[in-house]
C-alpha cells in the first residue's frame, strides 16, 4: 500500500499575523493586509499591495534565534519554517528530511540593490535554499520549485512523491516571495495590477494585487492511517496555449480538477479554493474549468482579497487556511466579490458560509500555461 502523506505542522507569516491560527482568525473576521501605495522606487503608478512590515520580521527572527547575514527573502523563509519545524518536533538535520522551497523570484532584488555581506550568487535560487538548509544543518541537496504562480502546489506534490518513494520520512515545504519593484513593475507593465483592493470573480474586477507571505507545511510519510490532514493527491497540467494568457477553455485547470476528482468523495468536498486573482481572464478561465469539471454547485472561495497574490507562497498558505476553514465548517468569504462576473455562475460569495465535508481542492494557474490542483482530506 502507498505510504500515507500527512501534514503535521504548518505556519503562515503575513501582514495579518505570524502564525496560521492568527492568520485564519483575521481572515475569518474579514481583515485584509491590502493597502494602497502611490509609488515605490522608480515606480510612480499607484498600486495596491499586501506588504509585510520589515521590523516585524526582524523582531520575529530575533525571537526565534535566526541570526546571520540573511536577505529579507531568506529571513522570511526561515521565520515561517522555524516555527513549523519546531511544532512538528522533527530533527531537521536528518538526511531523512527533504527541504523543498517554492518561490518565483527569490532574491532577485539583489540585482537592483546588492546587500553588503551577501554574495551575488545568492540571487541563484538554489544558493538561497542552501542558506536555509544550512541553518538547520540539513545535509541534503537544495531543490527549488520554480513554476511561476503554481509553485506552492507543485512543491507539495513533489514532496508527496518524494515521501512516497520511501527515501524520506519528512518534507519541509516552504514558500515565499518578496514583492520588490522588480515584480511589481513587471505586473504593472502587463496592466494586470489594480489600484483598488481586488475583486475576485466580480463583474467589476479590475485586476490583481500582489502580496507578501511566507508559509510552511511539514509533511510526514507513514504506513498507517492516523488522524489529521492527509495530502491525498495532486496534478500539474499545461494548457499548451499561450505563455501568459490563460486558456479560453480552461484546459489545464480542467484536466487537473478531473485528475484530483478521481480520489475525491464528492459528498465530502467542502469547497474548492481557487486561484481567483481578479484579472478578467484568470477568473473567467477558472469558471469554465469548474463548470466543465461538474463543480458549478460546489462552494468556491478565493483569498486574494485578504493577501493579494503571494506567488511562491500562495499554494501553501491557501492550502493551510483551507484546512483551518474545513475544520471550522466554514467557506471563507471571497473578499471583494459582490456580483457574478464570469460566464458560468460558480458558487462564490462575498459572505462567510457554512459548509460540511472533510475534503477541499486547492487550484492554481500561472504563466507558462501552467495549472495545478491538489486534494486534502481530514481523517478523524
Amino acid at each position: 500500500m502507498a505510504r500515507v502523506i500527512r501534514c503535521i505542522a504548518d505556519n503562515v507569516v503575513s501582514p495579518l499575523g505570524t502564525t496560521s491560527r492568527a492568520n485564519y482568525d483575521k481572515v475569518r473576521a474579514g481583515e485584509s493586509g491590502l493597502a494602497r501605495y502611490e509609488s515605490m522606487g522608480n515606480i510612480s503608478t499607484p498600486f495596491v499591495l499586501s506588504r509585510v512590515d520589515r521590523a516585524v520580521i526582524d523582531g520575529l527572527c530575533a525571537e526565534l534565534g535566526i541570526q546571520g547575514n540573511y536577505t529579507f527573502f531568506e529571513k522570511f523563509l526561515l521565520c515561517s519554517s522555524v516555527q513549523a519545524v519546531r511544532d512538528a518536533g522533527i530533527d531537521a538535520s536528518s538526511d531523512r528530511v527533504l527541504f523543498i522551497i517554492s518561490t518565483t523570484k527569490g532574491n532577485v532584488s539583489l540585482l537592483g540593490q546588492p546587500q553588503e555581506g551577501v554574495a551575488d550568487e545568492r540571487v541563484l535560487l538554489a544558493k538561497a535554499a542552501r542558506e536555509v538548509m544550512q541553518f538547520y544543518g540539513n545535509p541534503g541537496k537544495p531543490i527549488v520549485v520554480c513554476n511561476a504562480c503554481i509553485s506552492g502546489v507543485c512543491a507539495q506534490i513533489e514532496a508527496m512523491r518524494a515521501l512516497r518513494s520511501g527515501r524520506y520520512d519528512y518534507a519541509v515545504v516552504i514558500g515565499a516571495d518578496e514583492q520588490s519593484p522588480f515584480i511589481i513593475s513587471g505586473f504593472l507593465s502587463f496592466k494586470a495590477i489594480s489600484d483598488e483592493p481586488c475583486r475576485p470573480f466580480d463583474k467589476d474586477r479590475k485586476g490583481l494585487n500582489l502580496g507578501e507571505c511566507a508559509a510552511t507545511v511539514v509533511l510526514e510519510a507513514s504506513d498507517n492511517k492516523k488522524s489529521g490532514w492527509e495530502l491525498v493527491c495532486g496534478a500539474i497540467r499545461n494548457d499548451a496555449n499561450h505563455i501568459s494568457g490563460p486558456s479560453r477553455t480552461g484546459e489545464g485547470s480542467y484536466l487537473c480538477l478531473m485528475e484530483v476528482l478521481k480520489e475525491c468523495r464528492r459528498s465530502e468536498l467542502a469547497f474548492v479554493n481557487v486561484h481567483g486573482t481578479a484579472t478578467a481572464y484568470n477568473d473567467e478561465m477558472e469558471s469554465i474549468a469548474l463548470y466543465r469539471a461538474g463543480l458549478i454547485d460546489v462552494p468556491v472561495t478565493g483569498l486574494k482579497g485578504y493577501y493579494g497574490h503571494t506567488m511562491g507562497a500562495a499554494g501553501i498558505m491557501e492550502s493551510i487556511l483551507s484546512m483551518y476553514a474545513v475544520r471550522d465548517n466554514t467557506v471563507l468569504a471571497t473578499r471583494g466579490y459582490s456580483e457574478q462576473g464570469t460566464t458560468y455562475p460558480v458558487s462564490v460569495s462575498g459572505k462567510t458560509r457554512e459548509c460540511k465535508g472533510s475534503e477541499f481542492i486547492k487550484l492554481l494557474s500561472g504563466f507558462g500555461g501552467s495549472n495545478a490542483a491538489l486534494l486534502y482530506r481530514f481523517v478523524e
Partner: protein
C-alpha cells in the same frame, strides 16, 4: 558510436550534437541558436521572441524530436501522457538581468512586458508544450549543480502521476545572451526502474555537454 540507451541532444554556445554526432555550424553564441533554427526548424517565428533560455530549450527539443522521428502532435492520449521536466541552476537569471536593465534607471524607466514574462524559468516548458500541444505535467526545478542522482530521483518521482508515460527531460541554463548550456532527452517509464542506471546515463550525456 557508443550506445547510450537514451536519445539525446547537447547544446552550448559553441557546440551542438545529436546522439553524439556533432552538427557542423558557423555561428556561435545566440547567433548559433538562430542558425540552428533556420537550418533545422524554420516554421515557428515566435522563436525570435523567446529569451535565450527558451531558445536553447526549444532548439534542443526540436532537434531531439526530429532525431527520434516523433510525429508533431500525436493522439489525444499521447499529448496528455507526455510530461516536461526541466532542471537548471541559473533559472531565468539572463532574462532577469535583461529586464532589470529596463527598470534600473529612473530616467529611462520603461519596464518591458516581453522581457518580464521570461523572468520565470518555467516559460521554456510552456514554449515547448505550446509547440507540441502537450498537455501533460510541466515542471521546472532549480538545483545547485547538474547533479545526475538528484535529477534521476525527481524524474522517477514524476512517473507517480497517473497519466505520465514519458518525459521530455533536460537541463537548461543561461546567464547571458551568448552563454547557454542545455541537454534534452526523452525518458520512458522503464528507464526509471533502475534510478542508478538512469543517473549513469544522464552522466554520459552531461560528459558530452562538457566536452
Amino acid at each position: 558510436m557508443e550506445s547510450r540507451g537514451l536519445d539525446f541532444v547537447v547544446l552550448n554556445q559553441g557546440f551542438v550534437s545529436v546522439n553524439g554526432r556533432v552538427l557542423e555550424h558557423e555561428a556561435e553564441g545566440n547567433a548559433l541558436l538562430s542558425e540552428l533554427y533556420r537550418g533545422h526548424i524554420g516554421d515557428w517565428p515566435k522563436f525570435f521572441k523567446m529569451d535565450t533560455l527558451s531558445k536553447a530549450g526549444f532548439v534542443a527539443t526540436e532537434l531531439l524530436l526530429k532525431e527520434i522521428g516523433e510525429p508533431r502532435c500525436g493522439s489525444e492520449e499521447f499529448i496528455r501522457s507526455r510530461a516536461i521536466v526541466l532542471f537548471g541552476s541559473t533559472a531565468s537569471l539572463c532574462a532577469d538581468r535583461n529586464y532589470q536593465e529596463t527598470i534600473q534607471d529612473k530616467d529611462n524607466y520603461y519596464p518591458s512586458p516581453a522581457l518580464f514574462v521570461y523572468t520565470l524559468p518555467n516559460i521554456v516548458t510552456g514554449e515547448i508544450a505550446i509547440r507540441n500541444h502537450w498537455r501533460g505535467e510541466s515542471s521546472f526545478y532549480v538545483l545547485e549543480t547538474p547533479d545526475v542522482e538528484q535529477m534521476a530521483f525527481h524524474l522517477a518521482c514524476a512517473f507517480q502521476d497517473n497519466d505520465t508515460e514519458s518525459i521530455l527531460a533536460g537541463w537548461v541554463d543561461s546567464t547571458m545572451n551568448d552563454d547557454f548550456q542545455a541537454f534534452m532527452t526523452v525518458i520512458r517509464k522503464e528507464d526509471v526502474a533502475d534510478v542508478d542506471r538512469l543517473a549513469a546515463q544522464l552522466q554520459l550525456i552531461i560528459n558530452d555537454l562538457n566536452n
